[in-house]
């Protein structure tokens, strides 16, 4: 049976297997012993089986309401719906660490399964590095945050979960986000393996890029889901709070985006090798510090540290070991990597370098803004906070040039390019951008929103132009163009789609900067006007729910006398946790969101007034839609023929060039 003891044993077994996986293949690769190297895939899959068993046991305990398990008693309750009993497993510290380890095990097994065409030494080293990282985190799980710890006597009922977390969006947000974070462990392991081997070449770039792109897709979706959750659950009308936990996911996203671009240069031109290795190490290091430092509150609050010193010291030591160790190895081995191909500043390589510099500057700015307050409070005992005004003033000016270069960067030829022929192809895009600017000036207020909207249009239209030029659209029969489109590498279409996604997101952000809201306190029957709509509060009544009681309002929204929609925002009181949550009502027509929140009620019977917060959020859905489009573009480029079929061969000697076309 799936008892907690079995789960604990399986976790310990996985930890031991991970340690063996981390040591033996490394020795094997060093001694060129094929038997030791061949152990790696089996060990990785064994470790995964152990972790899956452990995780299944924890889910089993949660579903069967085994309150003798402390983790279940603290976070679950009999009355909780089944879905949230399952998802609640990773809604707390211990469970989320186990999920983290499970996904890492999954990555190791994926390399074992899909990496059959890798050279055996490289594969053994990659799997071994993943095993070493896994050992550390499984030890952390076992020694300081054991999810299977028992409690005696077992309580009759659990303490329940924070009502805010009882939401399908949040239930699936952590696994996707974690897959993104942990997925960058694979490029990291490739980088470490390459450093140990002392060799990075085009084939390495080709192997590492799909893993980075896959992780990036998950991270993009995870961030978008988190932002969407905070938009529709927290009910404050915004979508991004710039708080450390959010920034912790944005920082690896920025360096990860730089990584998937610089890996192209390694793959095609064998340049930027050392930089790409550093980016792979940096991205995973940021993922690690993001999940563990910020979430566990070590840097933010001294209390979390003091409450459980063992946990804090362990995680700090582990982070120091992983990050410090890999950077030390980098410093020791990077000079031995040979420098790559030459290129002119104006070239595809040059554009990608610029992309990397700008993304890393953005990352540095976000990092500074995130780390400055904790350092100020640690060093100078000053409590400050850095919020939206700071990040708006620093990130937008750096993002604007990025959007400009994004337009024509993908159209530049490799090695050496002429700017003029490329720009010449973009006159239509430039014209449409000018039109968009004029429209934006009429519609939007503020300089930065107008610039952002115009450049977003520029990015979208020039991406479309790129594809249109490649398939020679309108230069011959449409059928021929469609045939060319089918023959076009999926990576190129994926790039254009992902860039279009960026444009859509930026348009959404520009639209949201024009959001309007009103806070009113009104009796039933009163009508407010906001953004050309008439909002009428027609009714407020109370309604019982499964483990709460709700006060539900009815707001009719009319435009020019016609009913557009009826919103039902509510306020829920959870008796068990003595907590209230607001349930936002949103009506969207994909161009704008009408967003209503019900606040407190005042007064006595007959003279009741209700506080309402009404928002009009133009283009809000585009922000998340764009992120989905980006992830779709990434996924499409993963289905490229070169990734599926072409088993890249390594050149016989490192000096041989021109493997990739």
């Amino acid at each position: 049976m799936l008892s907690p003891e079995l789960g604990h044993y399986a976790l310990a077994l996985a930890c031991v297997l991970a340690a063996v996986q981390g040591i033996l293949p490394l020795i094997g690769a060093h001694r060129r012993d094929p038997r030791l190297m061949a152990l790696a895939p089996g060990l990785a899959i064994g470790q995964l089986i152990g972790l899956v068993t452990a995780f299944a046991c924890l889910i089993h305990a949660a579903v069967t309401d085994d309150f003798s398990v402390q983790n279940v008693a603290a976070n679950s309750a009999v009355a909780k719906p089944l879905l949230y009993k399952i998802t609640g497993v990773w809604g707390n510290h211990e469970g989320s660490i186990l999920l983290w380890a499970l996904i890492l095990g999954l990555c190791g097994a994926a390399v074992a399964a899909f990496g059959r065409n890798l050279p055996s030494a490289l594969r053994a080293r990659v799997i071994a590095v993943l095993g070493l990282v896994a050992t550390g985190f499984e030890l952390f799980c076992l020694t300081t945050s054991d999810p299977f710890a028992r409690v005696w006597p077992a309580p009759m009922d659990g303490q329940g979960m924070n009502p805010l977390l009882q939401d399908p969006g949040l239930a699936f947000h952590p696994p996707i986000l974690y897959t993104g974070y942990v997925g960058f462990a694979v490029p990291f392991a490739f980088a470490i393996a390459a450093l140990i081997e002392g060799r990075v070449d085009a084939a390495w770039g080709r192997w590492v890029r799909p893993w980075a792109v896959a992780a990036w897709c998950f991270l993009t979706c995870g961030i978008a889901m988190g932002s969407w959750w905070s938009y529709y659950v927290l009910g404050w009308g915004g979508y991004w709070f710039w708080d450390p936990v959010e920034n912790a996911s944005l920082i690896p996203w920025l360096t990860g985006t730089a990584l998937i671009h610089s890996a192209i240069v390694v793959e095609k031109r064998e340049a930027l090798k050392i930089w790409t290795v550093l980016l792979a190490i940096g991205t995973f290091s940021f993922s690690l510090s993001g999940t563990f430092l910020v979430r566990s509150g070590i840097l933010n609050s001294v209390h979390a540290f003091a409450n459980d010193p063992a946990r804090g010291v362990f995680i700090l030591g582990l982070l120091g070991l992983v990050i410090g160790g890999s950077l030390a190895l980098f410093a020791y081995r990077a000079p031995s990597l040979t420098a790559g191909g030459l290129f002119a500043p104006v070239s595809r390589e040059g554009a990608l370098v610029l992309n990397n510099i700008l993304l890393c500057s953005l990352c540095a700015v976000v990092l500074t803004g995130t780390m400055y307050p904790p350092f100020m409070s640690l060093l100078f005992d000053r409590t400050i906070s850095v919020g939206k005004p700071f990040f708006d003033a620093t990130t937008i000016p750096l993002a604007l040039p990025l959007f400009i270069f994004m337009g024509f960067g993908p159209m530049l030829p490799w090695k050496r390019a002429q700017l003029w022929p490329v720009l010449n192809r973009l006159w239509l895009a430039a014209g449409l951008t000018v039109v968009a600017t004029l429209v934006a000036i009429r519609q939007l207020s503020g300089v930065l929103p107008v610039l952002c909207a115009a450049l977003a249009v520029w990015v979208i239209v020039s991406s479309a132009t790129d594809i249109a030029t490649r398939i020679q659209l309108f230069r011959g029969p449409v059928a021929a163009s469609l045939h060319r489109l089918r023959g076009l590498p999926r990576a190129i279409i994926g790039t254009a789609i992902a860039h279009t996604g960026v444009g859509i997101t930026v348009l959404g952000l520009a639209g949201m900067s024009q959001a309007q809201h009103r806070i009113v306190e009104v009796p039933i029957g009163s009508t407010q006007s906001l953004a050309g709509y008439e909002w009428t509060l027609t009714d407020v009544h109370s309604e019982p729910g499964p483990n709460y009681t709700a006060m539900v309002a009815t707001i009719e929204i009319r435009r020019n006398g016609h009913v557009v929609t009826v919103l039902h925002p509510s306020k829920r009181s959870f008796n068990m946790q003595n907590q209230t949550t607001t349930d936002v009502a949103i009506h969207t027509n994909l161009l704008s969101d009408l967003y209503g929140v019900l606040g407190d009620s005042h007064g006595t019977d007959g003279h009741m007034t209700y506080v309402l917060r009404l928002h009009y959020n133009p283009l809000a859905p585009w922000m998340w839609l764009g992120a989905l489009v980006m992830a779709f573009g990434g996924a499409l480029s993963l289905s490229d023929r070169r990734v599926r079929v072409g088993a890249p061969r390594r050149a016989t000697s490192p000096s041989t060039q021109g493997i990739a076309s």
Binding site: T368, T383, S385, E521, Q528, Q579
Partner: protein, 189 residues
């Protein structure tokens, strides 16, 4: 194009981008940073009127008044750290977790030593957790020390804050046995 000229281009691009980033950060640091202040700091040296600050403390029990100006809801309440109290005006919906006698963070500007206009009120905590800044402020004011156990319950704060803060409102803050570090963070540039 030699390796050397390429490296030169790279260095120029890096310096340009990172330089811009640094300049933007420094400029934003001088204008967009929000300092955290306690009621006693506001009382002793109110921050400039155009400077947004975060005011944190406990909501004095019995001090919350809600009224309606036209159709806009206006809430007034006192925030204290046990030494001084500042009255806060806020137009909007108070958060779900806003309670009398519990911790709160108000973001806005100080009009005078005892008068604060909030543009945002945060009460992001449950029954046991207290915002870090408020906990720090309470520790400094000597009301609670984490070494001696968990923070006092909301009920005991009710009585403490009512008596102490009302007294303090009448007479300006007296230095206590464990004085707060009097650094006037709010007025720093």
């Amino acid at each position: 194009m030699t390796r050397k000229t390429r490296r030169l281009w790279l260095v120029i691009a890096c310096v340009a981008c990172l330089g811009t980033a640094a300049a933007l950060v420094l400029r934003a640091f001088s204008s967009d940073i929000v300092f955290f202040v306690t009621p006693s700091q506001v009382a002793s040296s109110p921050p400039p009127k155009d400077r947004t600050v975060k005011l944190g403390g406990m909501v004095v029990a019995g001090s919350v008044h809600r009224e309606r100006r036209g159709e806009t809801p206006v809430a007034t309440f006192d925030v204290t750290d046990g030494q001084a109290a500042v009255s806060v005006h806020y137009e909007g919906i108070l958060p779900d977790l806003f309670r009398e006698g519990q911790s709160v963070v108000a973001i806005g500007t100080a009009n005078s030593a005892h008068d604060f206009t909030a543009s945002e009120v945060l009460a992001k905590h449950d029954e046991t957790y207290m915002p870090k800044e408020v906990a720090e402020a309470l520790k400094k004011s000597g009301k609670w020390d984490p070494r001696f156990g968990p923070p006092p319950s909301a009920a005991s704060w009710n009585s403490m804050t009512v008596q102490d803060a009302r007294k303090d409102l009448a007479a300006p803050a007296q230095p206590q046995s464990q004085p707060a570090s009097p650094a006037p963070t709010g007025s720093a540039p």
